[in-house]
Subunit: 242 residues, 2 copies
Amino acid sequence: MLYELYYWPAIQGRAEFVRLALEDAGADYLDVALVPEEEGGGVPAMARFLEGQSVEHPAFAPPFLMAGRQLIGQTANILLFLGGRLDLAPKDAAGRLWTHQLQLTLADFVVEIHDAHHPLGPTLYYEQQRAAAQRRSKEFRAHRLPKFLDYFERVLHRNAGGGPGMVGPRLTYADLSLAQIIAGLRYAFPRASRAELASRPRLCALHDKVFARPRLKRYVSSERRIAFNNDDVFRHYPELDR
Amino acid sequence: MLYELYYWPAIQGRAEFVRLALEDAGADYLDVALVPEEEGGGVPAMARFLEGQSVEHPAFAPPFLMAGRQLIGQTANILLFLGGRLDLAPKDAAGRLWTHQLQLTLADFVVEIHDAHHPLGPTLYYEQQRAAAQRRSKEFRAHRLPKFLDYFERVLHRNAGGGPGMVGPRLTYADLSLAQIIAGLRYAFPRASRAELASRPRLCALHDKVFARPRLKRYVSSERRIAFNNDDVFRHYPELDR
């Protein structure tokens, strides 16, 4: 099946968690953000689904995925749908639910990483909330960042399935997302993440394992991979990292 | 099956979305927060699952549900699990995914409602972030609140299933959650929500429909229903509502 992924151009954003799963599985997908507007892609193609009057199941926001005639929104929900199809989730219902639970906790983590630079909400620019961002980042680095990292390090440690990831014997989409978050944290908070990751070897090993997968290695070095940048979820503002 | 629900005592919090589903279905459940500590309930019972070294699938935070030997965390994930069992979700996979997508969008809405009084994060008291809360609430009331309400009003309008809720011919757990959010908004932002809901009749009708269901009517007037209060997700601070 050809999947169509809809998202903003020029940022990785939340779509990147979906891209990593699709790329790792070698799935056939069209990244509509990379298709020029004159060829029917880009923002106008996305806007038709968000604003179209006849869309029965509109998403609140991108990313969303078109799979045949099914339109699916919410990053974690897209991965719940794709997990079995891409062989990136356990086969049993309990294993799938646990993988999804981890993905939802990763989504919560991403919200807090984002809000470190946007504490007053998404409707103001960073420059309009810099002082509040410094306060929130300080709390984030001191309390929330270690709490989330501790949690995922613990989950890796307790995986009874003996695999390198969080669930069972093989990597899942949640592991790919966790590796992406570690990469993003290293970009956004190089000082804080260096200090925090030094004492969490399983997280570092997972990151390396994921990005050493042949298909992901090729993807990351391809032009399809958008670089981390300061219009994105993970942003590097030195004043938020000291 | 007897379900055990674990959460903080004295607040509705995110557990309330699960309670409403359990109550509406007349399910057999134990609300561990309401069991005295000396009888094995309360916070220590919850802490054992969060901090116990031998818990294989620990939740990051409450609420979580024990169903037989399965421990399930993340509110939306608990409802995904319960939906079919409680007959509060469609039977087909696509319908379940759409219901879950709506629940995840409701969860995003709840985060923004919470962050209106806690923009600098959960590690500081409201009193330590009052000025930032006023700025965030102003943005929330002006932009985010109407955007979310418009979205759910539109989803109600487009439901091709002909039912009073968002999905298919019958109410789902997502409808119960949406009704709870409307009740919470009326408590937290009485001025803003009066103004915003006046032009969104489907949301008001859904709220009334849900809380007129016999079991929910009994639940809300029982001592099991904790009242809205200012230690909770929905908080009424008049300075954030003008």
